[in-house]
C-alpha cells in the first residue's frame, strides 16, 4: 500500500514501509563516473574491506571523454586501475552514464539503483527507485551493497491532455519547475502520471525523470506499463502501481494550452514562454545530454535541419547520448543531415553540458542547450548565459542564430 516509492521499498524490504521512515536497503547497482568515481574509490579504500560485488559496480567515462587534460587522464587511469584490481568488468566509455544504465539493462521496474551523479533520477522512468548521491555514500555501497534512505513523501504530478505541436516533455517539466521552484521537490519523490505520460515513449519519460532532480527531487518515477514492457521486453517488468497512495502535494499541468518553455539564465526556475525570449542572439546551440540526447530528440532536430543550413554565426554542436544512439542516428541518415547542415557532431558523452571538455563558452557568450542546467559558469565562463529548451526550439534557433519558434518552420 502506498506511493510507488513506498511500494518499491515495501517489496524490497519485505515489510510495510511508509514515507518518513529511515531504512537501510539493498541496492541493485551502484554507478560512478570519471569525475565522481575517483573520490568514491579513495573513500572506499579507507574502509579497508573487499568490494561487495564487482558485477554490481559500474563505472562510466562520460564527463571528460576522451581525456582532454593530463589531470583527466589521471582520473581515468585511477578508475581503470581500481577496476582491474577489484575485478569490476562493467567499465564503459560509449556514452552518458544514465543512458548506458538504461540501455545495458541495469535498470528494472521495482529496482533500487544509486549513482554518484545527481541525474541518477533518470531511471525512475522505468519504475525504478533511483537517486543521486555523493562519492562517499557510493563508496559505502561499493563496500556493503546497501545505503540508507529516508523514504520520501511524494508529489504527484498529472500531465493532462495531448502535446500540441512544438511542445515536448521538456516543456512539461520546465512548466512544473516554473510553478514549484528550484527546490519545490527537495527531499521528496515525484510521481509523473496522467494521460500525457501514459502516451509517452520511454525516451520521453526519461526526460521527465531526469529533470526531477533539477527541482530538488530525490527520485522521479513513472508507473511501468506496456511502453516499459515494449522497451525492456517482458523480462523483469513487474506489476507496480500506487495503491491507495497518500500524496504530499498534487499538481496538474494542462499540456494542451502550453507553449514551448525556456529556462532563462541564471536559474532553472527562471522559466518563460518562448514568445517572451524569441530573437535573443545565440553564439552556441548544444543538442544532447542525459535530458535530450536520445534518438527521438535527434530525429526532431534532423527533421528541421534537412535541406537547411545552421546560422554561420552560431556554433551548433550535436552529441548523441550513447554509441547506440549515435549508430542509430547514422543508420537513419541523421548524422549526415547534421553535418551537411553545418553542425559539429561530437562523440557520445556529456559534451558541452558541464563546460569541462569542449564547446566551452567564453565571457559574454550566450548559448541555448537541450540540457538541464543553466547556472552561471556551468558551460564555461561565469559571464556566459545559458538558455534551456526542447530539441525543436534548439533546432529552429540553430538555423536562425537566435532563439526561434520551430512552429514557424513547419
Amino acid at each position: 500500500m502506498g506511493t510507488l516509492t513506498e511500494e518499491i521499498f515495501t517489496r524490497r524490504l519485505g515489510r510495510p514501509i511508509h514515507a518518513g521512515e529511515i531504512v537501510v536497503a539493498p541496492v541493485d547497482y551502484a554507478m560512478a563516473h570519471d569525475v565522481t568515481g575517483p573520490l568514491a574509490i579513495e573513500a572506499f579504500r579507507q574502509l579497508e574491506v573487499p568490494i561487495w560485488d564487482p558485477d554490481r559496480v559500474i563505472f562510466v567515462f562520460d564527463h571528460i571523454l576522451p581525456a582532454n587534460t593530463v589531470a583527466a587522464a589521471g582520473l581515468h587511469r585511477q578508475v581503470r586501475e581500481f577496476a582491474a584490481e577489484f575485478g569490476v568488468k562493467h567499465v564503459f566509455q560509449e556514452g552518458i552514464c544514465h543512458q548506458l544504465m538504461v540501455e545495458k539493462g541495469f535498470v528494472r521496474p521495482g529496482g533500487i539503483v544509486v549513482g554518484a551523479d545527481s541525474h541518477s533520477t533518470t531511471y525512475g522512468a522505468l519504475g525504478c527507485f533511483s537517486a543521486g548521491f555523493g562519492s562517499t555514500d557510493i563508496a559505502v555501497t561499493f563496500a556493503t551493497g546497501r545505503t540508507w534512505f529516508r523514504v520520501p513523501e511524494t508529489i504527484r504530478i498529472d500531465l493532462r491532455g495531448g502535446l500540441p505541436p512544438g511542445v515536448f516533455p521538456k516543456d512539461l517539466a520546465l512548466q512544473v519547475i516554473r510553478r514549484l521552484g528550484a527546490e519545490g521537490a527537495n527531499y521528496l519523490a515525484v510521481e509523473w502520471g496522467g494521460e500525457a505520460v501514459e502516451a509517452m515513449s520511454v525516451d520521453d519519460r526519461l526526460t521527465l525523470a531526469n529533470l526531477t532532480v533539477d527541482f530538488g527531487g530525490k527520485a522521479g518515477l513513472c508507473e511501468p506499463d506496456e511502453h516499459t514492457r515494449a522497451y525492456l521486453g517482458d523480462a523483469g517488468v513487474i506489476d507496480l502501481h500506487p495503491v491507495q497512495p497518500e500524496y504530499r502535494q498534487l499538481v496538474e499541468v494542462d499540456a494542451e494550452t502550453l507553449e514551448p518553455q525556456i529556462a532563462c539564465p541564471p536559474a532553472i526556475d527562471n522559466v518563460r514562454d518562448l514568445s517572451e525570449v524569441e530573437g535573443t542572439h545565440l553564439d552556441e546551440v548544444f543538442v544532447g545530454s542525459c535530458t535530450n540526447g536520445r534518438i527521438e530528440d535527434l530525429a526532431i532536430v534532423a527533421g528541421y535541419f534537412e535541406g537547411r543550413q545552421v546560422h554561420p554565426g552560431t556554433r551548433t554542436i550535436v552529441v548523441p547520448a550513447s554509441k547506440k544512439v549515435y549508430m542509430e542516428a547514422l543508420a537513419r541518415g541523421y548524422i549526415q543531415t547534421f553535418m551537411e547542415a553545418g553542425a559539429l557532431v561530437m562523440n557520445a558523452g556529456c559534451g558541452p553540458c558541464l563546460g569541462r571538455q569542449h564547446g566551452v563558452l567564453g565571457p559574454g557568450e550566450r548559448a541555448l542547450s537541450t540540457s538541464n542546467r543553466n547556472y552561471a559558469g556551468r558551460m564555461g565562463s561565469a559571464q556566459a548565459e545559458i538558455y534551456l529548451a526542447n530539441p525543436a526550439v534548439a533546432a529552429a534557433s540553430a538555423l536562425a542564430g537566435e532563439i526561434a519558434d520551430p512552429r514557424r518552420l513547419n
Binding site: I22, R373, G377, R378
Partner: protein, 165 residues
C-alpha cells in the same frame, strides 16, 4: 569566533567548484578553487573558523562531493543556510563539514560580521543575537558524532544507522 561570508539563494555546486576545476581529488587544490569565479577573493581571504551564511537551496545541482570538500578545505567551519539541496547536505555531513539549517539568521547578518557556531547544539551567536539551527536528523547526528560516514561505517557498520532508524 569567525567571520561571515554571506551568499544569496540558489548557490549551485557549479558556483562552489566549477566543472573545470574539479578534475582532481586533492582537497587542497579544491579549496584553492572554491568559488573561484563566483567570488574570486574567497579562497584567499577565508581564515580557519569562518562561516558561510546563505539563503535557500544552498548546494543545488550536481552531486559532486568536491563542493563540500572544497569549502571545508578552504577553512570554512560551518555553512548556515535557510535551506540546503538534499545531496549537498548529505555530502557535507558525510565528509565532516558542519551544515546548519536556520531560517531567521539570514536577514540579521552582513558580510564580515563576527559569528560563532556551536555545531553540536546548533547555537549561533552573531551581532549580540542568538539563533538556534534546526536539529539534524538521527542519522546525520550519528555521522557527525563519528566524524565522517567512513568513520561511522568503519567502526560500527550499518548497525549504527539501523539502531537510530
Amino acid at each position: 569566533m569567525g567571520r561571515v561570508f554571506k551568499f544569496g539563494d540558489g548557490i549551485s555546486t557549479d558556483a562552489i567548484i566549477p566543472g573545470r576545476f574539479n578534475v582532481t581529488t586533492d582537497a587542497t587544490a579544491l579549496g584553492k578553487a572554491c568559488f573561484i569565479e563566483a567570488r574570486p577573493d574567497f579562497a584567499t581571504t577565508v581564515q580557519a573558523g569562518d562561516v558561510i551564511v546563505a539563503g535557500r537551496n544552498f548546494g543545488c545541482g550536481s552531486s559532486r562531493e568536491h563542493a563540500p570538500v572544497a569549502i571545508k578545505a578552504a577553512g570554512i567551519q560551518a555553512v548556515v543556510a535557510q535551506s540546503f539541496a538534499r545531496i549537498f547536505y548529505r555530502n557535507a555531513i558525510n565528509i565532516g563539514l558542519a551544515v546548519v539549517q536556520c531560517e531567521a539568521i539570514y536577514g540579521a547578518v552582513q558580510d564580515g560580521d563576527p559569528i560563532s557556531v556551536d555545531v553540536r547544539s546548533g547555537r549561533i551567536d552573531v551581532n549580540g543575537k542568538m539563533f538556534t539551527g534546526e536539529t539534524p536528523g538521527p542519522v546525520a547526528t550519528a555521522i557527525m558524532e563519528a566524524g565522517t560516514l567512513i568513520d561511522l561505517i568503519k567502526t560500527r557498520g550499518w548497525a549504527a544507522i539501523e539502531e537510530v532508524s
